[in-house]
Symmetry: C2
Subunit: 478 residues, 2 copies
């Protein structure tokens, strides 16, 4: 069995080489395959099933909060991309350009959308006349392209899948409320479904969205102490409205510019799940997002009645959980390893002796704890166990995050932590770009966010010693 496990797994230990551990998992848990298209990934069935679950939860939440789905073209004419000046400066260096259709050269180049603000704006300008037409709360599920030099599956790829919400409102207040509301939808989703604690906060001017007014973010901490920006929500103010002429007549028939937001999460969330919950045995999926929540492994399946019992249990459990039987002719030990690698939260073993005793063995993926359970109790015990695992995974991730969040009150302290203790660094900041850049230069960390939950860990800027304006989370980031 030890040999089998070696064969199935054969993954680099996390402590030896975290990056290699990560790519081993994405390949060996069959989440992705590489393609001959540089920087693009193939999302395999098991990886895509995770994305489908993410979509299902979030899409329902978007609809509950009044949003409607639409589909915009994947191409943006160069002249349209250029309409909002800081937006084009932010994105033009990294877009893919279509120059030919069939055998003809196009009169105007088209970029493959890196994000769709410009398309939504053009559409909104055409369909909005009156305050009665507002708000428009649209969302789109699609893929976007950003020409990346170095790529890593899920974390940074030339093409990735995402959703992009784009809304317009009559007032600045409503747009701000929407921006924060959607950030909270993301935060709740990450914490409650992905069992991943996040820090909610605002991005600095340096790190905000190209063309926006304010960017909010949720930041999470990976196993290796690096931060991952896991979702962002932008208040675009009336910048785009002015560039694209999106106006409405208010109740007094006066023309007003709309206020706009955009927000998105991507397949990067799958990378976050891997790096928050995975271990040296492979992936570990929080039950609420796992495509398979319980896998049934028949033991001595050639013996009479074993496969029939496994199938009977599957039918019963299917009413309370996503369940699968693996009745292929591999050895049970091999299967144990395979589903550990794939991060299935609960394994159910059932063999001739179990059947005799009207019991099964349940094994948790997260702690590897075993329990023997009466077959009569499965419909109760399995959902309960899945909830226990969900909670425990969140608590463990939170403890890890908290243990690896440090406070620095001066630059030496900051540098020392940044060098020796991978994690978040909480430190006060004066608000000056210069200090933000200097911290990046001397410690290699970027500002992750100014958290909504402010504390005063000191009263002066960690860099310049002048009066502090805000607490900032800093870190090395993916």
């Amino acid at each position: 069995m030890a040999k089998n496990q070696k064969l199935v797994k054969d993954i680099t230990a996390m402590d030896v080489d975290f990056a290699k551990w990560y790519t081993d998992i994405v390949k060996k848990a069959e989440l992705v395959d590489y393609s001959s298209v540089k920087g693009c990934m193939i999302i395999r069935p098991y990886g895509y099933a995770i994305w489908e679950n993410i979509q299902k939860y979030l899409d329902a939440k978007f609809k509950e909060t009044g949003h409607e789905n639409v589909y915009m073209p994947m191409f943006i004419p160069e002249s349209l991309l250029e309409k909002e000046k800081s937006h084009v400066e932010g994105f033009a260096p990294e877009v893919a350009w279509v120059t030919h259709g069939g055998s003809e050269e196009l009169t105007e180049r088209l970029c493959v959308r890196p994000t769709s603000e410009t398309l939504f704006c053009e559409h909104y300008a055409r369909i909005v006349q009156s305050y009665k037409d507002l708000p428009k709360l649209y969302n789109q599920w699609c893929s976007v392209v950003r020409w990346e030099k170095t790529t890593r599956p899920f974390l940074r790829t030339t093409e990735f899948l995402w959703q992009e919400g784009h809304t317009i409102h009559a007032t600045a207040e409503e747009a701000e409320a929407e921006t924060v509301k959607m950030l909270n939808v993301y935060a709740d989703f990450c914490e409650n479904v992905l069992a991943m604690p996040v820090v909610k906060g605002r991005k600095t001017e340096k790190e905000k969205f190209a063309g926006g007014v304010r960017t909010y973010t949720i930041e999470s901490l990976m196993h290796d102490g690096k931060a991952l920006q896991s979702g962002t929500s932008h208040n675009l103010g009336d910048n785009f409205a002015k560039a694209f002429g999106i106006q409405y007549s208010d109740k007094d028939q006066k023309k007003q510019y709309v206020h706009e937001t955009s927000w998105g999460v991507t397949t990067r969330l799958i990378g976050a799940i891997i790096m928050v919950h995975g271990d040296d045995e492979g992936l570990a999926l929080p039950p609420r997002i796992a495509p398979i929540q319980t896998v049934i492994i028949p033991i001595a399946q050639h013996k009479e009645g074993v496969l029939e019992k496994a199938e009977e249990l599957r039918e019963r459990i299917a009413k309370v959980a996503r369940v699968k039987v693996d009745s292929t002719d591999k050895m049970p030990g091999w299967k144990f390893s395979e589903y550990e690698m794939k991060g299935v939260p609960v394994r159910l073993e059932v063999g001739p002796k179990d059947i005799e005793n009207n019991q099964v063995v349940l094994v948790r993926r997260d702690t590897r704890e075993k329990e023997v359970v009466s077959m009569d109790d499965l419909e109760v015990r399995i959902p309960q166990l899945l909830e226990e695992i969900q909670t425990a995974m969140f608590e463990r991730a939170k403890a890890h995050r908290d243990e690896n969040t440090f406070v620095a009150t001066n630059l030496d302290e900051f540098k020392e932590i940044a060098e020796n203790k991978p994690g978040f660094i909480k430190a006060m900041w004066c608000g000056d770009l210069e200090c933000e850049e200097k911290i990046k230069e001397v410690a290699g960390t970027s500002s992750r966010c100014m958290p909504f939950e402010q504390e005063e860990v000191s009263d002066v800027c960690v860099c310049c010693g002048k009066p502090a304006k805000s607490l900032v989370y800093w870190g090395k980031a993916y």
Copy 2:
């Protein structure tokens, strides 16, 4: 009210200009908006909601039949596209080429996928080793691009949404069974959900998929007597397997090529719904696909208790149907027209007098028949009525199709029908490309399919008079 209706609707009558009628509907029912990207459409919330319902039904059916979803890159390197010779010949003239990433020129051009056989093949070649790995039953929901000269929303656009199934099998028989099975899934979906009768059959060699062995199709007849290819399923044989080297070891350890299929339906189905069921009042949606199945219009809604009652009914009906209340401050007559235009199957009117009498008025979109129903019976009557409408819409479409299907036994007859009676023409064919081309030339009709249900309407070819091999449906097509 007549004036209001004029304002809301203002659509060209079908008999005056069918093409204009069609584009009026897609615009005024708010299904699409045009974008500044030539040939690409914006699918608005109401149009996209129809697509989401199509996806929901089909995706469930694909999963029931053992298929898994994946995601492939949107780009195909030129060298990969060229691997299967007749495939590249079929598609290269109509692809969009990416030549630059950011500011750099690419060393190899990438095309935006027009279809993804080549990507699936490359992946399959890498992941399949043994007969135990077969079959692979994959599907992908995505958008594809084909550089079209003349476009029309849903029917022919440069970019469109679709699903593409790609499967590989150990034997030719299994691949053939899969190809036919998926065609039947499409046919059942069109008939049972879209209320659209289809002719199932096989494409001629001339009309088959570039690189495939056999193409099956479902063909439906539009209001104007033109045919619409509504879904296709291709048996690719081992053509692609040989070009891409997709081999497996069979039970005797011998290398064998896999047998492959691909199949797809697109947003074109929305065009079909419009042209099969729509009328001069606008869109008419079959209940099973309608985003809103029942719209509640409060009458004299400023009067006490009306809006409350409307909301109370909405909550009750929501348990049995997709329902919405329109309580905006437009006049009821305006709303009637608006939801007729949008094709909502049932309108429920409720005003002070109805409340007094504990009743509501139900109005069918398809026949405009009214009935007065006790409020107590709504949970029973509405689902029943929706089913009645669904059946009636199918029967009407079928009657139209049958009335406009003609038989020709010689070329003069054929030409006369093609000129004067828009519809399907059933006629025998010898199997020669020459006759197929001649029929196209003299009558302007293409072969739609050789139907599974063969009849012998004559024993000689309608064109050359030689012995006939097959009955063929011919028609002018979108």
